[in-house]
């Protein structure tokens, strides 16, 4: 079917999308851009699977009685929702899609350092994903995504080992992505691309990779211990046999707390790029933003026991972990202040990516500030295992990470697809997501503070909670519409969208200096960088709109 939009360009330039066709040219590709698209399709699938479980849970909570599903099913719903969203959507979302696509382009490389390992990481992800789907379809797991011992090791008769192995395999995929990024950022930068000229997206991904590399192996070995314990009743986590279940929690959260920063740091990187571009200003305090990413990665490893204040840890270690949890707020706040200062006196454009970035700013700040409530020992004990916690981490993971992901998808969509998305629809979707999100999760703060526990499928003893639960469920459907819309118009724009120029936003950054979509080896000539990052003053100067690529 031929469309008028395709006629003005009779000879389409060769790029990574049209170079080869056919299934094998995708399944055996080592091109980081194609692998990014493979990841895009797979994580979108898992996002909707996980979202489906969330919707079922919200429907169950519409009425106080446990009427839509039984308790066992409900336990499996929140477990599979958590496992899929954490390990198969959020952790790979921005790094494996946008990071994979953009890291080589942004540093001026022809590919990631190890292209075949990059493809291997996608296959590991798929193997883990298939195992997880199989586990889910043949019974699932009911322990919560945290699979605490000794319930997971001695009592539940659901498929812990299979789910654990799925996460183990997906974890290796995450490690390999991080390894590729670290080596690429160290060794593959184009001439002139010094560390202080790197986009802050790269700094954020560097920090993320450090966490992926040093955190993920710990959850891997924890899963090995759980599987062995379950198979042979070793007693490592079983208090009856002299083991320590709290040790499991320490090992689990040693990874799973930093994992939150695997989700949020890349989103921070995305938002930094968007805010600089749509304020037409150099980012305020470049080095502070860069090093706050590293600081978050380092501090992030030292706060894990704040998940365990009621697990019987010593009050002295609780005090230390409480203090350190406050400390990790400092680099996060540095970022928020620097973004705000960048906006100040900027010439702000309200395009869709910027709307998502604004959404991120507000929601991440909410999530972060309620995180400070939780770092306080007294309040923590009061709201542990209530909907306050649920609301808090969804403000970070959905309000923060997913808003960042969607903002980034809109910002770089012209580069990825070579087409423009429909701006009006995109702004509408951003608005719907923001409203739907707040409607879903703000009532949960109130519910939690009033004492509604998480993971309950029946609250008929407290019918006064229903109003807020109905609001939350209504919000979830609005949010669902907000998430479906971008998928629809992105797919539509791939065929009918207007062809994008090389740099539709007139943005700084090497990725905008090559064609849209880029050729297979990214740049026709090896770029040499002679300018500083975010040189928007120069880009917008009337006498020269484009800084020449020096040879």
């Amino acid at each position: 079917m031929s469309m008028p939009t395709t006629i003005p360009q009779p000879v389409e330039r060769e790029n990574y999308l049209n170079k080869e066709y056919g299934v094998w040219s995708w399944l055996l590709t080592t091109d980081h851009k194609r692998i990014a698209l493979l990841y895009l399709v797979s994580i979108t699938f898992f996002f909707f699977v996980g979202g489906f479980f969330a919707l079922l849970m919200r429907l169950e909570l519409l009425t106080p009685a446990g009427d839509l599903v039984q308790a066992d099913t409900y336990n499996k719903l929140f477990t599979m929702h958590g496992m899929i969203m954490v390990f198969f959507f959020l952790i790979p979302s921005i790094p494996a899609v946008l990071g994979n696509f953009l890291v080589p382009l942004m540093v001026g490389a022809r590919d990631l350092a190890f292209p075949r390992i990059n493809l291997l990481s996608w296959y590991l992800y798929i193997i883990g994903g298939v195992m997880m789907m199989h586990c889910m379809l043949t019974g699932g797991v009911d322990t919560g995504w945290t699979f605490y011992a000794p319930f997971s090791t001695n009592f539940t008769n659901t498929k812990i080992v299979e789910a654990g192995l799925a996460i183990f395999v997906a974890g290796f995929s995450s490690i390999l992505t991080g390894l590729n990024f670290v080596v690429t950022i160290h060794r593959m930068r184009a001439p002139g691309m010094t560390w202080s000229r790197l986009p802050l997206f790269i700094w954020a991904h560097y920090a993320t990779s450090i966490i992926q590399l040093l955190g993920t192996p710990v959850i891997a070995v924890t899963i090995v211990l759980v599987a062995a314990e379950r198979a042979l009743h070793l007693g490592i986590f079983d208090p009856k046999l002299g083991g320590d279940p709290v040790l499991f929690q320490h090992l689990f959260w040693f990874y799973s707390h930093p994992a939150v920063y695997i989700m949020i740091l890349p989103a921070m990187g995305v938002v930094t790029e968007i805010i600089a571009c749509f304020s037409r200003k150099r980012i305020f305090g470049y080095s502070f933003v860069a090093f706050s990413s590293i600081a978050i990665a380092v501090f992030g490893f030292l706060v894990w026991a704040h998940h365990m204040f009621v697990a019987g840890i010593s009050i002295y270690s609780a005090l230390v972990f409480s203090f350190l949890s406050y400390a990790v707020a400092v680099p996060s706040a540095i970022k928020v202040f620097n973004w705000t200062a960048t906006l100040y006196k900027g010439s702000i454009h309200y395009d869709a990516p910027m709307l998502y970035a604004f959404g991120f700013l507000g929601l991440f700040t909410m999530g972060g500030l309620t995180g400070l409530f939780l770092a306080a020992l007294g309040i923590n004990v009061h709201v542990t295992d209530t909907y306050f916690i649920v609301a808090h981490f969804h403000y970070i993971m959905v309000g923060g990470a997913v808003m960042g992901y969607l903002g980034g998808m809109h910002f770089w969509w012209p580069k990825i697809s070579g087409r423009l998305y429909p701006e009006g629809w995109a702004r509408l979707a951003a608005l719907i997501v923001f409203i739907g999100f707040n409607l879903t999760f703000f009532p949960q703060f109130l519910l939690g503070y009033m004492g509604m526990p998480r993971r309950y499928y029946d609250y008929s003893h407290m019918p006064e909670f229903q109003v807020l639960n109905v609001l939350s469920t209504a919000g979830a459907t609005v949010l669902g519409v907000g998430y479906l819309l971008p998928m629809v118009y992105f797919l539509w724009s791939m065929r009918y969208g207007k062809p994008a120029s090389d740099n539709p936003w007139n943005a700084a950054g090497l990725e905008w200096k090559t064609a849209s979509p880029p050729p297979t080896f990214n740049f026709d000539e090896e770029p040499v960088v002679t300018w500083e990052a975010y040189n928007y003053e120069e880009l917008d100067a009337p006498h020269k709109r484009e800084v020449p690529v020096a040879r």
Binding site: R13, E14, A109, R110, D111, L112, A113, F114, P115, I175, L179, V182, V183, T184, H186, R187, M188, L213, L214, G215, T216, P217, V218, A220, V221, T222, V224, L225, A228, L232, H233, L234, G235, I236, L241, G242, G243, D244, L247, H250, L251, F254, P519, F521, D524, E525, E526
Partner: protein, 236 residues
């Protein structure tokens, strides 16, 4: 076809045959591979780190029981295996040197001896596992550790449950170490085949070098495992 795409082609023609398309020069490719292996080894440190952490906690909790359980391990075989691995590290270093200085025979012999030493290690480990199996020291339903005296407490016996935790950690730690040895053997077999085909030259020997890094790392893990598991309660 526009001229600009030809620039890249011209650039590629002068490449060394082993230089992959996305690297500018062999030095960059070498550095990337070496850094990649070091970063991977950092993840391996964390992987074993979780186990060492569990070991340290339970060793402190069940000090005497761990001592008693440790004493039942065969320190002679453990020491022999330590010696075997240290020798294999020497042959790996020789192999790297031989690859860099184009000494083909030495390269083949060193890689071969490394393989044999690795197999010897696994064989000895197998004998030890068999002994533990015969003694009912494998954790699980048939585990038994009755009436083993507690070191330093005359007349008292070790708690079998706590000893079982020691043996659980023993099998998981040495088992994962052995798995790494098996992967290393596969790696070195591949290196031997490549060396036999004459693929390694003074200009291109990165696989030998990073394979060697991996092998040394697996050795070092054992250097920590040996005293922690075998020697914690040995007195002259």
């Amino acid at each position: 076809m526009p001229d600009s795409t030809l620039v890249g082609l011209h650039h590629e023609e002068q490449h060394h045959p082993e230089l992959l398309h996305h690297f500018a020069e062999p030095q960059q490719q070498r550095d990337a591979a070496s850094l990649g292996m070091w970063v991977f080894l950092a993840t391996e440190v964390m992987f074993f780190g979780g186990l060492f952490c569990a070991y340290l906690i339970y060793r402190r909790w069940y000090f005497g029981d761990f001592g008693a359980a440790s004493k039942t391990l065969n320190a002679t075989l453990g020491a022999t295996n330590t010696a075997v691995l240290i020798c294999s590290s020497l042959t790996v270093v020789l192999a790297v040197w031989a690859a860099k200085t184009a000494r083909r025979t030495l390269l083949l012999v060193s890689l071969g001896i490394t393989l044999l030493l690795g197999l010897a290690f696994l064989g000895i480990k197998g004998v030890e596992y068999k002994d533990k199996f015969v003694e009912h020291h494998v954790p699980g339903a048939s585990f038994s550790f009755d009436k083993v005296p507690l070191p330093g407490h005359p007349g008292q016996y070790a708690n079998p449950r706590h000893a079982q935790i020691f043996f659980s950690l023993y099998f998981i730690m040495t088992g994962l170490h052995a798995l790494h040895m098996i992967i290393g053997l596969g790696l070195f077999l591949w290196l031997l085949i490549m060396a036999w085909k004459g693929r390694f030259t003074p200009e291109y020997n990165t696989p030998v070098e990073i394979g060697g890094l991996y092998w040394h790392f697996v050795d070092i893990i054992w250097i920590y495992l040996f005293p922690l598991l075998y020697l914690i309660d040995r007195h002259p």
